[in-house]
């Protein structure tokens, strides 16, 4: 188990996908298919739908918040997002999806690099993000 800080609350469990580089949700991700469409991204074509997404930070346009909210609405978005650095754009997208649709995509920050990398390489995790803190539980290593 490992502690983290909550940017957007919620609970999720699923398989981990770890991105080598952050992706910009606007222009780099397709909310219809849930896939990475940035041609220059090392994991171009990877599907984020239904996964616990580990990426170190956010990237790119603030319109990413709209695209993330739309993906959560459609059910093509990640189940949860675990960051190493705070990102207000990603947090906003997830918070708005909760406000409009009651659909949670917890967003948490694990500020300790070693701890973040350790969790990013597990197979399955449970993310429980409450207002006063978040907990990650390893379901499968």
């Amino acid at each position: 188990m490992s502690g983290a800080r909550t940017l957007a609350p919620g609970t999720a469990e699923g398989t981990v996908i770890h991105l080598d580089e952050p992706v910009s949700f606007w222009g780099g991700f397709d909310s219809a298919s849930g896939r990475i469409i940035d041609r220059f991204h090392p994991q171009h074509g990877a599907c984020l739908s239904g996964k616990i997404l580990f990426m170190a930070s956010g990237r790119g346009s603030s319109s990413g918040a709209s695209v993330l909210a739309e993906a959560i609405r459609l059910g093509t978005g990640p189940l949860a997002i675990c960051l190493l650095h705070d990102d207000a754009i990603i947090a906003t997208g997830a918070l708005v999806a909760m406000m409009l649709y009651g659909k949670a995509c917890p967003v948490v920050v694990i500020e300790d690099t070693t701890g973040w990398q350790d969790m990013a390489h597990k197979r399955r995790l449970r993310v429980e993000a409450l207002d006063d803190g978040a907990l990650l539980t390893v379901l499968e290593t």
């Binding site: 346009s61 603030s62 319109s63 909210a69 754009i89």
Partner: protein, 414 residues
């Protein structure tokens, strides 16, 4: 740790209205995510959420309309998905056009001003030096911070409208004087006497460079041409905010917080990371193009960010004589469009084969009649995004290069 004042707490409790309570909750959570310690009043907002990105965009605006929300500060609107003045220009899927127009109208219903421009700083709603503002749209953010000296972070979809509805903004980052100092210096060398047409191209190249190399570190730029105009600084900021997460730059001797290098850096030492001469500038400009000079052109695209009246004044003498061989598109705002019409310039432009696009922009929506072949632009931002967004080939040049090419039907230099 975020501390709210009594008025914030009352608003959060719904004492101002349900829309304000909802919007402030979003601002508060955002403020916690960025580590702000308090909220402050904002003098104005510029909202980018009126560009349609899917059902969620519309549902968000509709929610606040349904709750009876009204913005609490003067709020300008960025471009939408359609030209409401010339709706016939939209050639995308009809349902997207309808949803895009509804989204724009929903924002007006919330009390936002129907400016629909990415250059709100060139309208009557230009902020003043030192104003705390909540602005979205990457180029507008850079311009407000750098060229005007107003203070905003890189706000964007949802949070922009939430700040407008509450009149509150998290106090962090560029709202605070100590975070507005330059951390690096970029020297432009040997180009101080460049002519006005070249200054536009130099500004774009320098902008692309600081976007790529400086990221969130503020650059102080020295040695820009003396002929550099406000529109060139607009182009510089737009290019920088396309190639990187730039929110602010200082142009020493040109922008208000940089009368000299020492003021720009706050007296702290800042390393010089590059000397950009004519050769470097030419190489950066060339890197924007996906086609070679001499390639046949389908269209010329101008006005990203929106053309100002001053830019139309430069364009008009180039639009006399026969029609251009290629299509020419110029994006602008209603403020400039009204003046064009009053002067009869809209007719002159139409006769020359120039399509003026209002309320939107050719790289974000379906306007261009023919997406085959190559397009030429004087905008670093358009050149940066159009190949990905529209799947077109691009050439880059100064305004004179672009118009000479429109006349020749292929990429030439003026």
């Amino acid at each position: 740790m975020l501390e709210l004042n009594a008025a914030d707490k009352a608003m959060l409790a719904g004492e101002v209205g349900a829309a304000q309570a909802d919007a402030l909750l979003l601002v508060v959570r955002f403020a916690r995510a960025v580590g702000a310690r308090r909220l402050i009043d904002c003098a104005s907002a510029h909202v980018d959420g009126c560009l349609y990105h899917g059902e969620a965009s519309l549902d968000f605006a509709r929610r606040f309309v349904a709750l009876g929300g009204r913005v609490r500060v003067p709020t300008t609107l960025n471009v939408g998905s359609v030209d409401l003045i010339h709706p016939e220009l939209f050639n995308g899927k009809p349902e997207l056009g309808t949803a895009g127009a509804e989204l724009m109208e929903a924002h007006v219903a919330l009390g936002c001003l129907p400016t629909f421009t990415c250059a709100p700083y060139q309208t009557l709603f230009r902020p003043a030096l030192g104003d705390q503002i909540a602005w979205a749209e990457s180029n507008a953010i850079v311009f407000a911070n750098s060229v005007i000296g107003a203070r905003t972070n890189r706000y964007g979809d949802f949070i922009d409208l939430a700040c407008a509805l509450t009149g509150r903004v998290p106090d962090y980052g560029l709202h605070q004087a100590e975070n507005r100092r330059a951390g690096v210096v970029v020297e432009v060398v040997g180009l101080a006497d460049a002519p006005a047409d070249a200054a536009g191209g130099i500004a774009v190249a320098v902008g692309l460079f600081i976007g790529r190399e400086c990221g969130a570190t503020i650059a102080a730029i020295t040695g820009l041409p003396r002929s550099t105009t406000e529109d060139d600084l607009k182009a510089l900021g737009a290019a920088a905010a396309s190639s990187g997460a730039v929110a602010m730059f200082h142009a020493v001797g040109l922008t208000p917080e940089a009368p000299d290098l020492e003021t720009a850096t706050g007296g702290l030492s800042a390393p010089t990371i590059a000397h950009l001469g004519a050769a470097e500038i030419a190489a950066i400009s060339a890197s924007l193009a996906t086609v070679a000079d001499g390639t046949d052109l389908t269209a010329v695209a101008l006005g990203t960010p929106h053309f100002s009246l001053a830019e139309f004044e430069r364009l008009m003498p180039m639009c006399t004589g026969s029609r251009f061989k290629t299509d020419v598109y110029v994006n602008t705002g209603r403020h400039a469009w009204d003046i064009l019409v009053a002067r009869g310039w809209d007719l002159t432009l139409a006769e020359a084969g120039v399509t003026v696009v209002v309320d939107t922009c050719t790289y974000v929506t379906a306007i261009l009649r023919d997406l085959g072949g190559a397009m030429m632009t004087s905008s670093g931002k358009w050149a940066y995004y159009a190949p990905g967004n529209l799947g077109v080939e691009v050439a880059f040049g100064t305004l004179s290069d672009c118009m000479a090419s429109a006349r020749a039907g292929k990429v030439v230099r003026a």
